[in-house]
């Protein structure tokens, strides 16, 4: 289907040279190897990769959210000089669909379009501009269909089916205690809504596929899970796993948005077809169409409590808009159900969580994974109930807080430290920021900042609290494991530990943590963490707050296995019992006595161990949503202090304070960074960040129109980090990445309600809701004024 005039090029690209670091042990704040290069611009992101002879790939996407394809005509595109390949669904060598859990998504669409931006054809050319022109020459005959853009509508019996299986992709039902068949003194109801948040990672999707000249391919890729990419590539390329090798390249953030495939299969198809390296890099607009987003949700809640403030029952119904394809929606739906009532003890609950196919952009994993949505709802309800009971919101929460031994709505007993009440009390006890004085204030401290709209007149302060939780690691019986290979050797410069895993460093600091663990376990200063690739077994995904627990745990176990073999050697050579031995500063010691140096022990005989680490077994939920589905829970609480210009609707978040139990902080500075980052992302969701979709079309696919918080929007974060060891976890650690993202939005909205007295049932909260001007989203099409989304085509107009 194309002209191929290339000569095969042997794979010449090698990953970055593994560097040797000298980190401290666990518990020390360690600098990350990528920190300085990222600030100075020297870090090699996936989009910076290059090989001689590289072709540029580009993707033709559907402008329609719902359509039939009657024909695809590519000959004109193929005829353009410099175009090496134009491929369609006909050229997919193996399985024509992909998906992590349910392979329902076409690699390239053939007869039906289910979302705007769905890929239809791919091109490889000698220049990005040539590739772009070729896309323009591909003729598609579409029959445009009405989009099914509302999740509730899609659930109706008579709705057109977007997939053969029907539109309800998953329904999780939990009945706990007597469900709702009980009476309560005080009842509150609420309906809540959450918009579609984007992961907004700064490094867009990118990768470089290099054919090996023997029918196989090497892919250098920014991803979250090399092996799940490999599994899907193997299927769709029709190759054996040995012929599809992946190496992690520089990842510019992920937050769940890189768990699904984007350009991986496309780049490999083009590389194998042209026998040339092919690079694909999305631009920002394409990135908005190129990955899944956080599920928008509508949530209907009813809470009942006794007059003295004990929860009696919770009824919750959540509908998540899954968009066009499955992605990880079934699991998100289950999370939204399991964490629907929050970290509280409640004897009765009836929970129904649905995720539905629509013609909206596909949604999937994003930091918080279902718990973010329901936390906004249950915390809003807890405030409402506290108000109805005349109780202090924190006191009310503490009174109902889950503790060790509490029962989840799933029937699972909560084990280990469960400091829900303590986190709330600690965050409440933190000193408050200074009250706004009467004198003139620095504009930067006011809502609207230096835009001069507020001078402090009529500014009202509000304070709000929230607590949230989520599981760590994969749940519901998933075989969750991580693999680590550790090699101990001596070189001219002394002992060296090499750590090799496939775990994706996506910016969270995992490389440093692996090195710290190796140092701690083997007493060796020089550590080399090798580039992550598929030459070692799967590490599982860098998601679900699991990678330090799972891969960190695997590295720990591999080090222990190496140590065991080393001590066996000591026993054989010196007759020393392994029980009395330890490793310190490159030597084996017994108490204060040095037994042997590693230099002597290892001379020429390296020790290597590969270990698979599995966490405790979990189980699927039964028909009533009962089962020990979770491995570990992570908790955090937030307090938000806001100043609100109630007349304009402008907000200044004055301070965010948080308390979180991390079990053990392996790299305290990195823990603080994760908590700050997650809190900032939560602030974005509460106030600014939403992909605005109408009739299945994205209206704001740019960072001009999709509003990310800037440094000026983000206040200082006060942190209280608890280290309550989980006896089951490596070093007692607890996953940390997601909780800050979960409890921040409801705390901010609670503070806004406190300041304004308004209901604010939807996030992100818009200024017009705060000002009480309009609670409906805009009614008409975008017009002139403001961001790029509104400019339209101005080719005929005059401007300089």
């Amino acid at each position: 289907m194309s002209r191929s005039e290339a000569t095969p090029i042997a794979p010449t690209r090698v990953g970055p040279e593994p560097t040797i670091s000298r980190p401290g042990g666990i518990g020390q704040s360690e600098r990350r190897p990528d920190g300085v290069p990222k600030v100075t611009g020297e870090f090699e992101y996936a989009s910076d990769m290059w090989l001689d002879g590289t072709l540029f790939g580009a993707t033709l996407r559907s402008p329609h959210p719902h359509a039939r394809i009657w024909s695809i005509e590519i000959s004109e595109a193929e005829a353009i000089p410099g175009v090496y390949a134009v491929l369609t669904h006909e050229d997919v060598p193996g399985r024509k669909v992909y998906g992590m859990e349910i392979p329902d998504q076409p690699v390239l669409a053939w007869d039906r379009i289910r979302y705007q931006g769905e890929p239809i054809a791919i091109v490889a050319a000698d220049h990005p501009e040539t590739a772009r022109r070729a896309l323009e020459k591909i003729a598609i005959d579409y029959e445009v269909l009405d989009p099914l853009a509302d999740a509730e509508e899609a659930m109706r019996e008579n709705a057109p089916k977007l997939h053969l299986s029907g539109n309800v992709l998953n329904h999780v039902h939990i009945k706990h205690g007597d469900g709702d068949a009980v009476e309560a003194d005080v009842v509150v109801r609420g309906e809540y809504e959450i918009g579609m948040q984007d992961q907004a990672f700064l490094g867009p999707e990118s990768g470089l596929a290099v054919p090996d000249g023997e029918g196989g391919v090497d892919l250098y890729i920014a991803t979250q899970w090399l092996h799940v990419d490999q599994d899907q590539l193997v299927e769709s390329l029709g190759l054996s796993p040995e012929m599809v090798r992946l190496t992690l390249s520089g990842v510019g953030g992920a937050f769940g948005g890189r768990e699904d495939l984007s350009m991986q299969i496309h780049a490999c198809m083009l590389a194998l077809h042209t026998e040339r390296p092919v690079k694909i890099v999305y631009d920002r607009e394409e990135s908005f169409y190129g990955h899944v987003h956080r599920h928008p949700a509508k949530m209907r809640y009813e809470h009942g409590a006794t007059r003295d403030g004990k929860l009696v029952y919770v009824k919750a119904r959540t509908v998540l808009d899954g968009g066009a394809y499955a992605s990880s929606s079934p699991a998100v739906c289950s999370n939204a159900a399991r964490f629907a009532i929050g970290p509280y003890e409640c004897p009765n609950a009836l929970i129904d969580s649905y995720v539905v196919y629509t013609n909206n952009p596909p949604c999937g994993a994003m930091r918080g994974f279902g718990a973010v949505q329901t936390c906004f709802a249950h915390e809003s309800q807890m405030d409402k109930l506290a108000g109805a009971l005349g109780m202090d919101p924190v006191e009310f929460r503490v009174k109902n807080a889950m503790t060790t031994g509490s029962t989840m709505p799933t029937g699972q007993r909560v084990e280990g430290p469960t400091p829900v009440a303590e986190l709330l009390e600690r965050v409440k006890a933190m000193p408050m920021p200074e009250a706004a004085g009467d004198g003139p204030r620095d504009l930067r401290e006011l809502p609207g900042g230096v835009s001069n709209t507020t001078h402090g007149e009529g500014v009202t302060r509000g304070v709000g609290y929230a607590v949230g939780f989520k599981n760590v690691g994969f749940a519901e019986g998933f075989d969750d494991y991580a693999t680590a290979r550790v090699r101990l050797s001596v070189t001219d410069d002394g002992p060296l530990v090499e750590v090799h895993t496939a775990a994706a460093e996506v910016g969270q600091g995992l490389v440093t943590v692996q090195a710290q663990i190796a140092h701690t376990e083997l007493g060796v200063e020089r550590i080399s963490v090798l580039p992550a690739d598929t030459r070692v077994g799967s590490a599982g995904s860098t998601s679900a707050s699991r990678q330090t627990y799972m891969t960190g745990g695997a590295v720990k176990m591999a080090c222990e296995a190496v140590r065991e073999r080393l001590f066996e050697r000591v026993k054989e050579e010196f007759g020393e019992s392994p029980n009395s031995l330890s490793l310190e500063d490159g030597s084996v010691v017994s108490g204060d006595r040095m037994v042997a140096s590693l230099m002597d022990l290892l001379d020429g005989e390296d020790i290597e161990e590969t270990v698979v680490h599995r966490h405790v077994e979990t189980f699927p939920l039964d028909a009533n949503g009962q089962g020990d589905a979770d491995m570990q829970y992570a908790f955090s609480a937030h307090r938000a202090v806001v100043d609100v210009d109630t007349e304009l609707g402008l907000v200044r978040v004055v301070e965010l304070a948080t308390a979180q139990d991390v079990g053990k902080a392996l790299n305290p500075q990195a823990v603080e960074g994760q908590i700050e980052g997650g809190t900032a992302q939560g602030l974005g969701l509460a106030l600014l960040e939403e992909i605005q979709v109408r009739d299945g079309k994205i209206l704001n696919a740019s960072f001009t129109d999709y509003l990310l918080p800037t440094i000026l929007d983000m206040p200082p974060v006060k942190m209280d980090i608890l280290e309550l060891a989980d006896p089951n976890a490596p070093y007692g650690l607890r996953g940390i990445g997601e909780p800050p993202n979960i409890s921040t939005p409801p705390a901010i909205v609670a503070a806004l309600r406190d300041a304004t007295g308004r209901e604010l049932p939807r996030i992100p909260v818009r200024p017009e809701q705060i000002a009480g001007v309009a609670t409906q989203p805009p009614r008409r099409s975008p017009q002139a004024g403001g961001g790029y989304a509104d400019i339209g085509d101005i080719r005929d107009r005059s401007e300089t």
């Binding site: 001069n452 001007v773 805009p778 989304a789 080719r795 300089t800």
Partner: protein, 283 residues
């Protein structure tokens, strides 16, 4: 984010630029800083065949005291307008508004003439110049003409400039001693375009409003004067400013878009007008 290929010419003088415009007609666009033009070219919303760069015409970079008004060359950068002592002394509103344009990079490269000729109703300078009653000098092959600010903005991204004309100078009347001013810009994040902006120039009379001129940003397809509010404000004492400002949105037709609904824009115009006049009275 790569624009369509284009040719590039450096204009040595205004006459040279006019000559190039004459040769290339509507294929050519003037580059006067490029902070509006280049982004939309990268987004391929505009695809001129030729860019005529005015950046080297130093003759167009000046601020002059012309007695009753200031003359500002079209290629004067925002940051130079902001920091110019003559502008600060005689026309504080313009200096201040220039400090709110875009971000620091934009203010160092973008020019007053470029911003005005782009004629974006969401830009800050046009409405400030409406309130200041400015006028513009426009040069074409057939000579020079003066255009009042109220006649310059025709529609969304459309000015009174013909294809073979160049905006060369902005003339701003000096503010008298008893005149207060304010610019209020509503954004959800700093550095964004104004959702709504209000510029006020108030001639004070014994602590009350004598006359007021109110310019509105992003309340329609062009910058506007809030004429109904201006009438209502005439002679208003501080206690009645709020009520008088309630007509600030009269006669406007703001859009509903992803940034705000039209109702909310109207609300903002009213509140910001009140605040702008109050600040102008106190200044």
């Amino acid at each position: 984010m790569i624009p369509v290929a284009f040719d590039y010419e450096v204009a040595e003088s205004v006459d040279h630029a006019l000559e190039l415009l004459g040769q290339h007609g509507d294929e050519a666009k003037l580059l006067a800083g490029g902070h509006s033009l280049l982004p939309i070219m990268k987004l391929r919303l505009a695809a001129p065949a030729l860019l005529v760069d005015l950046g080297r015409i130093t003759d167009l970079n000046y601020v002059r005291d012309e007695g009753d008004h200031l003359a500002i060359g079209a290629m004067t950068r925002h940051t130079d307008v902001e920091r110019n002592p003559i502008v600060q002394e005689h026309c504080g509103l313009l200096s201040y508004t220039a400090s709110l344009v875009g971000d620091s990079q934009v203010r160092h490269r973008g020019t007053i003439g470029g911003s005005l000729a782009h004629a974006d109703a969401a830009s800050d300078l046009p409405s400030a110049l409406m309130a200041l009653d400015a006028s513009f000098v426009v040069k074409g092959s057939s000579g020079e003409r003066s255009v009042a600010v109220g006649d310059f903005f025709k529609d969304y991204l459309m000015s009174d400039l013909a294809e073979d004309e160049i905006l060369t100078e902005v003339r701003v009347p000096k503010l008298s001693a008893g005149t207060g001013w304010s610019y209020q810009k509503f954004t959800r994040r700093l550095m964004d375009w104004a959702v709504v902006g209000v510029a006020a120039v108030v001639e004070k009379s014994n602590g009350s409003v004598g006359t007021a001129r109110i310019g509105l940003t992003n309340m329609g397809s062009t910058p506007l004067r809030a004429t109904a509010a201006e009438s209502a404000l005439s002679g208003a004492d501080p206690g009645s400013v709020a009520e008088a400002s309630n007509s600030a949105d009269e006669g406007t037709s703001p859009s509903s878009d992803i940034a705000a609904s039209d109702e909310y824009r109207r609300h903002l115009a009213r509140v910001l007008t009140k605040r702008a006049v109050e600040e102008a009275l106190s200044r």
